[in-house]
Amino acid sequence: MDFRVNEDQEALRDGVRSFCEGRIPLEKLPELEEKNAFDRELWNEFAELGVFALRLPEENGGLGLGAAEAVLVFAELGRYLAPGPLVWSHLAAGRIAGAETGETVVGGIDLSRGEAGPHLIEYADNLDVLLVLRPDGVETLDPKTLALQPVGVPLDPLTPLMQVESLPSGERIGDHALLARLQDEGAALVSAMLLGIAEATQTLATAYAKERQQFDRPIGGFQAIKHILSDTFVRQEAARAAVYAAGATLDHPEAGDVLRTVSGAKVIAGEAAMKNSRACIQVHGGMGYTWEVPAHYFLKRTWVLENSFGGVEDHADRVVARIESKL
């Protein structure tokens, strides 16, 4: 057992980080927002970076890496609020032609808990294929055949939405086994993005607390602020451990309980992102309540991710179901 991020993994993570830092730094968010978030060129660059083909075998044009690497990559994408249906297209790679190269933009919606319409579909305007998780399997739909209605103002300015009253059944591409797999992998990747947000908001708030002066000293010198920030760090560390554990266990199921570890990660990372984004706004004071300071983007994206692949309650229920049999 060596739970550390190894050198190759570090290099991969640093590569994605520096790509994002150069291409979509926080200052560029308003620009992306004007483009209605989806940027085809950027999407192709994500594909070149290997975001979609990461876990495909090398002989199929992939990078042949595992879930451990995928959570590191998605944590960086989360940290930079990267736009687009990244998780869905990653899950579709190798299953839907063209997803791995970015040619086919695959989005999705999780209705596996029997959710009734109307349904909100992310990036619906930009999708070539819509994956639908149903309670008993997985289907694909052609978004052009759907009666999509515009949603005027989405909560997350970087996650555009369309609405549809109900979704007809589509073409079945897999049964329970595929469903379970996509649920676990999707939840793990979304947890990783939430981890990225928990880290980003901690970093942003800490930097501001060192620089902003009130009462003739940096506000980070006030214990009330310092302790808020220490708590954001603790939550970030718990989320990091939980998300890494999810990646490592998906790669080697014999090392633990996949479902329990993945759901645990969704609970812990979801709460860390939610609480840290709120703390980030609070530490920024009045500026934190403005559109100008990027803190709000993180909280809004957190709400999107919290509602992707099951929320805190759903995953707490899944964890307890796993331990219940052992009581």
Binding site: D2, F3, G220, K226, F233, A242, H315, I323
Partner: protein
């Protein structure tokens, strides 16, 4: 990022498990909490058995009789100790986690000879005399004085919250040897033999009703200069060496044990009737248990990460503060949940019908000490804020 244990680790696990399966039941049940001589005998007897089986001082260097196990074997050890419900380290805590490692790191050959092996075998019990009434979190404010008189120091002062003082053979004592020096500059670390004349021990009752710690009054106590560990006036540095050992894996088995306590809480809920159903039928309770289990799993993963990241040095980084903070506050939440599941049965310290009030209340009350002892939660937040995040420092 690999969580698989190696074959060597698994072999170590199965040997240890087999040994624990016979050794734990054979050691019998723990004596009553107020019976200190019996508790000492029980705890040190267990330490002796660990020693004979080669499991004492799992992380101690081999040249001092320890097992010098790899970091992953240590994790396996804590998991198995917790899983087997083995006796708690108890009165051996200070010797095994403070005094022993400090003497190994800083002591003279004579001091090592006199203390290291007896601590490991359970023949020598230590207590900690650091805190004073006016020096708790602000430990360096300590006033107990030590004045040189020939080959001795003459020590006067008042120590407080000394766990296990009433059964200890030795104490690690912090004293002020230079009253003129700076606050942190005039402190020394001494070994106190607890049978020296002039020591008075007055037990303090904890809120759990137990006699776990005491006040220790020192009235012209003579301590030989040869009992000085490290240099005179260099005690603050030595103290930091001592406290470093406590921060690492000292509470690892307790962390793992919390999973069992949570399972017991769930089992108790099945026995409680509320609204014509069992409390376990209450979805919000089950959900809370799932939530806490997720946090306990995250805690264990955090410990694994912190141990992996400490790497070969084996010295926990400041990140250990995050683990301590997370663990202690989580422990209190489990305690509180246990009390809520008991409902009115939580009003009794003895079992009520089929409900384990005795055990749950013991755990819930004891958990209140964890956010105070070994650096309070507030102090841990200061450490994280200043040493990890680089925020402006408090006044010292």
């Amino acid at each position: 990022m690999d969580l698989r244990y190696s074959e060597t680790d698994e072999k170590f696990r199965s040997e240890l498990r087999a040994w624990l399966e016979q050794a734990v039941p054979a050691h019998g049940t723990p004596p009553a909490t107020h019976d200190w001589p019996a508790r000492r005998a029980y705890d040190t007897g267990w330490q002796g058995k660990l020693f004979e089986a080669g499991y004492a001082g799992i992380n101690w260097p081999a040249e001092y009789g320890g097992r010098d196990a790899s970091l992953t074997e240590q994790l396996v050890y804590y998991e198995e100790i917790a899983r087997a419900n083995a006796p708690y380290i108890g009165v051996n805590f200070v010797g095994m986690l403070h005094g022993g490692p400090t003497v190994i790191a800083e002591g003279t050959p004579e001091q090592k000879e006199r203390h290291v092996r007896p601590i490991l075998t359970g023949d020598q019990v230590w207590c900690q005399g650091f805190s004073e009434p006016q020096a708790g979190s602000d430990l360096a404010a300590l006033k107990t004085s030590a004045v040189r008189d020939g080959d001795d120091y003459i020590v006067n002062g008042h120590k407080i919250w000394c766990s296990f003082a009433q059964v200890a053979d030795y104490g690690e004592l912090l004293v002020r040897t230079d009253p003129e020096a700076s606050k942190h500059g005039g402190i020394s670390w001494l070994i106190l033999s607890m049978d020296t004349p002039g020591i008075e021990i007055r037990p303090l009752r904890t809120l759990a009703g137990e006699g776990e710690f005491s006040e220790v009054f020192l009235d012209n106590v003579r301590i030989p200069v040869s009992n000085l560990v490290g240099q005179e006036n260099d005690g603050w540095r030595v103290t930091n060496v001592t406290l470093r050992f406590e921060r690492g894996t000292a509470f690892a088995s307790e962390m793992y044990n919390l999973q069992e306590l949570l399972a017991e809480v769930a089992r108790a809920a099945k026995k409680v009737t509320r609204h014509d159903a069992s409390a376990w039928d209450d979805r919000s309770l089950r959900r809370e248990v799932g939530h806490i289990q997720a946090e306990l799993d995250a805690l264990w993963a955090m410990l694994k990460l912190s141990i992996s990241e400490a790497g070969e040095t084996g010295v926990p980084g400041v990140g250990a503060s995050a683990v301590k903070l997370y663990y202690t506050e989580l422990n209190q939440r489990v305690g509180e949940l246990a009390m809520r599941v008991l409902g009115r049965a939580a009003l009794s310290r003895e079992n009520v019908g089929a409900l384990p009030s005795r055990h749950f209340l013991h755990k819930a009350l004891q958990s209140l000490s964890l956010t105070i002892a070994a650096g309070s939660s507030q102090i841990q937040r200061n450490i994280i804020g200043e040493r990890i995040l680089g925020l402006p420092k408090e006044r010292k």
